[in-house]
Symmetry: C2
Subunit: 250 residues, 2 copies
């Protein structure tokens, strides 16, 4: 069975996240239904990193073994055609690229590095244009204090304090390779990458950085949070709609 690597962009607003759910459309269910319409057989799509409800993707990668061979470009065009029907909001999922890959390629297990971006719009006025694609923070944030705090997150740590209770990872030990805060006008962008992340880790780090930016906590408080190994020691979970899965390296 030929194996394909799919690069995907999606707007998660009307979807239940990546994973198939009994009660509604997910990215996986929309993709698998589109593939069923092309192949006549049910197949399973695996992704590099499952995104939660509301989390968008600019370059998610999925892999799928199909019962028949396709010219990659034909598979891409066909999937985009069928996705218009299988996705609740038309065009909310787009297949950007398709590549045939060796049998041993697996979107999740072959991934070497995942990149995420979080967008905060920091202004008083409510969001109209970006209301589905950013976290609106009305209190002024000091992005330099947020950037100062990033140094404490980078490196190999026990991230228990930044891990969702439902996280399925065997170990809370992770190595964070990069975390950077930038401001351009009212937009604050937080970029991060690592081999892998715990469930909610990015959103929990961002929720903490926001408290630091708002002056509620000093940048160095991150050290004590990590040491506490207790979710309640860290900041709240930032909303899903500001988070983008940017790309994967293999």
């Amino acid at each position: 069975m030929p194996n394909y690597k799919l690069t995907l962009e999606y707007d998660a607003t009307g979807l239940l996240g990546w994973q198939k759910q009994p009660d509604g459309a997910s990215v996986q269910s929309c993709l698998e239904e589109a593939l069923f319409r092309m192949c006549g057989e049910r197949v399973t799509a695996y992704c590099s990193g499952r995104t939660d409800q509301g989390v968008h993707a600019l370059g998610q990668v999925a892999s799928v073994m199909l019962p028949k061979a396709f010219v990659p470009y034909t598979l891409m065009q066909g999937m985009n055609y069928h996705l218009l029907q299988t996705t609740p909001e038309p065009a909310a999922i787009s297949v950007l690229a398709v590549e045939e890959v060796p049998d041993d390629f697996h979107a999740r297990f072959s991934a070497k590095r995942r990149y995420y971006r979080y967008r905060i719009i920091n202004r008083r006025g409510a969001l109209a244009i970006d209301r589905r694609y950013a976290w609106h923070v009305g209190v002024p944030l000091d992005h330099e204090a947020m950037q100062e705090a990033t140094q404490y997150f980078i490196g190999h740590h026990d991230f228990t304090s930044f891990r969702a209770s439902e996280c399925q990872s065997k170990s809370p030990l992770k190595t964070l390779d990069a975390l950077e805060v930038k401001r351009e006008g009212e937009l604050i962008t937080i970029e991060t990458n690592a081999l892998s992340f715990l469930h909610h880790q990015v959103r929990n780090m961002v929720g903490t950085l926001k408290l630091i930016g708002a002056g509620k906590l000093p940048p160095e408080s991150v050290k004590a949070m990590l040491a506490a190994k207790d979710r309640s020691a860290a900041g709240p979970t930032a909303p899903a709609e500001g988070l983008f899965f940017v790309r994967v390296e293999y």
Copy 2:
């Protein structure tokens, strides 16, 4: 009657443009309904430049004379509250700022300069995230050729070739002060400003720049288009969803 200047952001996707229509919600009708709920009287909101169906705004300005006085911040908060009910897609219109202004201030007639931005995403793959906020152009565009063409638009010209047939302006003579094309990866941004524009002028200029970027016409072809004073001599009208009314100077 106190006079207020309102600064507005809106996502035009679910609206019929600025102007009130008999058959659906427009920015004006949603604002006026919100104001009615606050004042108990019907008032008319005037804007600095009417936007067509699908055209977004980051900093539209409206002026409105109200039958009673409000603290500006209270008016802003109250309008944003009522707009959640009067707008078909909640939060698609946001009042960013409110200021009390002298009686002779009029959003349209007092305006000295209008700024527009047009966004093109230039890549093969269909848009998911930006499908409501950009023009998707799949053929490669040469942004340097587009930028070269801008010099022929700038200045005082008869813009008949770039004017919609339903344009109500008395004269087709306009002075274009700036037009600039920039690329950042797959995003091409076209920024322009002038005292005022003809109906569809920005979208018609962008439709022509796109043909030049695609190599269908040389940059200097703009000269002959302007000289022709004939709408059919210029390129097609670019789609509304890529256009943003950015701000106004008074």
